[in-house]
């Protein structure tokens, strides 16, 4: 039921979940992840189809080092955009920030749809493949996820991560304590964008075609749902949420047309049944104790 292609999609979902989680860990509800994902993917699609120095062959092959370069460039471009936009939008709070980031997603979507070199509604197709099968993408996706998870884990012990947690609990109090709240929020926003940009670059190759539909309002909410259903208190939550929710529509395929209704029901009922999400710090603690031999 779960083939390699779906596994790769699930890993990409987990990466996007982490991208939404990072600003949220600093208390900022940003829905901009699909915009950065779209930017990274579009850059990779353009570079690999237009720039022959990257080594795309006529048979559609593509060198792996070039793919890695694209991941870096996609992340950098998205990060740069986040740096510019973040300075402006992070002055906004709560629902205003959420709506401003939705606006960013829509602006990027319409731009990709209308710019002369991004292929319009059809998009960019025949993006060269570095791997012959979907299984090849498992390794880079896993590596990217491991790296992102490691960064999130490290953050918890670092001054930046602690500042983010303090802002999440009470931004005003954090500022009064002398924490550079603007800097911490901006860093979280940029990290989120870099992750989404790199994920987009990988996804563009994996999906083989890339168009404006990749980064839409729907994607904003789906990726937010990864975090809310998975749990937003630890970085494992969005990873689990991303893996499960990406797999769900595919696993529901046998029920036919009703599957999207069921998917909607999961999003509708999930927060009601588990307001903290599936993975909570309390759950991890209990698991940890259980792992040590069930000692109380």
């Amino acid at each position: 039921m779960i083939d390699n292609g779906l596994l790769v999609q699930m890993l990409l979902g987990a990466l996007l979940g982490l991208s939404v989680y990072l600003p949220l860990a600093a208390g900022q509800l940003s829905l901009a992840t699909p915009a950065f994902y779209a930017v990274g993917g579009t850059l990779a699609a353009l570079l690999s189809t237009r720039w022959s120095a990257l080594g795309a062959t006529a048979s559609g092959g593509f060198p792996v080092p070039s793919l890695l370069l694209e991941l870096v460039l996609g992340g950098l471009l998205a990060g740069l955009l986040a740096l510019l936009v973040g300075r402006l939008v992070l002055r906004l709070q709560g629902i205003y920030l959420a709506i401003a980031t939705i606006a960013l997603v829509e602006i990027v979507r319409v731009a990709i749809l209308n710019l002369p070199f991004t292929g319009g509604a059809v998009g960019i197709f025949a993006i060269p493949q570095p791997f012959a099968t979907a299984a090849g993408y498992l390794l880079p996706a896993l590596a990217l996820l491991a790296l992102a998870g490691w960064v999130c884990q490290r953050l918890e012990g670092m001054p930046l991560g602690r500042a983010m947690a303090a802002i999440r609990d009470d931004e005003l109090a954090a500022r009064c304590m002398g924490i550079d709240t603007t800097g911490a929020k901006l860093t979280a926003f940029v990290l989120s964008a870099v992750l989404a940009g790199s994920t987009g670059a990988l996804a563009a190759h994996f999906l083989n075609t890339w168009n404006a539909r990749q980064g839409s309002f729907d994607a904003s909410i789906t990726t937010l749902a990864f975090v809310i259903l998975g749990g937003s208190r630890t970085w494992l939550g969005p990873v689990v949420g991303g893996l499960l929710l990406t797999a769900l529509p595919e696993l529901l395929r046998p029920v036919g047309d009703v599957r999207l209704v069921l998917f909607g029901l999961v999003i509708l009922l999930g927060p009601v049944l588990a307001p903290q999400g599936l993975i909570t710090p309390g759950l991890l603690e209990r698991l940890g104790r259980w792992g040590e031999g069930g000692k109380p």
């Binding site: 002055r91 401003a100 606006a103 029901l265 999003i267 509708l268």
Partner: protein, 313 residues
């Protein structure tokens, strides 16, 4: 030249009126609960399809019941009104399923974004199951709608009657709602709950009933908008309301969250600005609303007519 300009302005004002309807729907819910109801776009679609069915439209071949429809279509006015009421009832259902359980638990308001969007996904996909993904066209002639001529000549300029109708109906709806909010006892009670639910409750206002009323009216406004757009353009598919829902969100912020005059002014402004985009750049039209929104948020985060709030320690 004048004729073209007049038609453009009228088109802009007509779609602006619909944006104002959607934004007012958001405003009602936002002012009583402080949350955005993301199912608003789906309720817009529901209103469009309900109007179509009530006017005697038949379900297409890809629907669940191909060829099914009312034996006799209702007149346009009645269908529109009933469709708005139907969308209002579904809005109530959305409140029961997506908002009430969270409110009872005092959960984070952020969660309501997700649950309401989940409700929207369910609604849109149920519509798709029932009606199929194909587009539906209403009888385009205004003659069939209300016995009016298709084209009116106004000051030497010919304009489409349906656009004028659109503008008049949304203006009437907005006016009635504003007057009701301002003057009537029920409207005052709703505003009292919006100001402070606990105090309102102490004063003997049934807050929960007011919340339900807000959802009913909000769903009704969305449904009315959907019906109007359906009649004047077409129903391109169950997802068509989502785009209007998003535009309404932009209008909402443009006017200031929770401000009724702001939602009306924002809607008109947005509609006119879009209508003035030259057709050579029409692909960018959808981004205009959000570009304006972006600018307003940065210059004036509380919106054009919103109130500035100061955080207290």
């Amino acid at each position: 030249m004048i004729e073209a300009l007049l038609q453009t302005l009228l088109n802009g004002a007509a779609s602006g009126g619909v944006y104002a309807l959607v934004a007012l729907g958001y405003t009602l819910v936002f002012s009583v609960l402080g949350v955005i109801n993301f199912a608003q776009g789906a309720l817009f679609s529901v209103g469009g399809y309900l109007t179509f069915l009530l006017m005697g439209g038949k379900i297409g071949v890809n629907g669940a019941l191909p060829g099914w429809g009312l034996p006799e279509g209702l007149p346009f006015w009645l269908a529109l009104l009933l469709a708005a009421a139907g969308s209002g009832l579904i809005g109530l259902l959305v409140e029961r399923l997506a908002f009430a359980p969270l409110r009872r638990r005092n959960a984070e308001p952020l969660l309501a974004l997700i649950t309401s969007l989940g409700a929207g996904v369910v609604l849109v996909n149920l519509l798709q199951l029932l009606m199929g993904a194909e587009g539906y066209a209403f009888p385009q002639s205004t003659d069939a709608l209300a016995g009016l001529p298709d084209v009116l000549v106004l000051g030497g300029a010919r304009i489409r009657t349906i656009q004028l109708l659109l503008l008049l109906i949304s203006a009437a709806a907005v006016l009635v709602l504003s007057l009701w909010l301002d003057r009537s006892k029920g409207g005052r009670a709703l505003r009292a709950v919006a100001e402070d639910a606990t105090t309102a409750q102490l004063l003997g206002i049934h807050s929960e009933a007011m919340v339900r009323l807000a959802f009913f009216l909000s769903g009704g406004l969305a449904g009315l908008g959907g019906g109007l757009i359906g009649v004047s353009v077409s129903l391109p598919g169950p997802y068509f309301g989502i785009g209007y829902g998003l535009k309404g969100l932009a209008v909402l912020v443009l006017g200031g969250l929770g401000s009724v005059p702001g939602a009306i002014a924002g809607g008109l402004l947005m509609g006119l600005a879009e209508a003035l985009v030259p057709s050579s750049a029409s692909g960018w039209r959808d981004a205009l609303a959000f570009a304006i929104l972006f600018g307003v948020l940065l210059l004036r985060p509380s919106g054009l007519l919103g109130r500035r709030t100061v955080e207290k320690v």
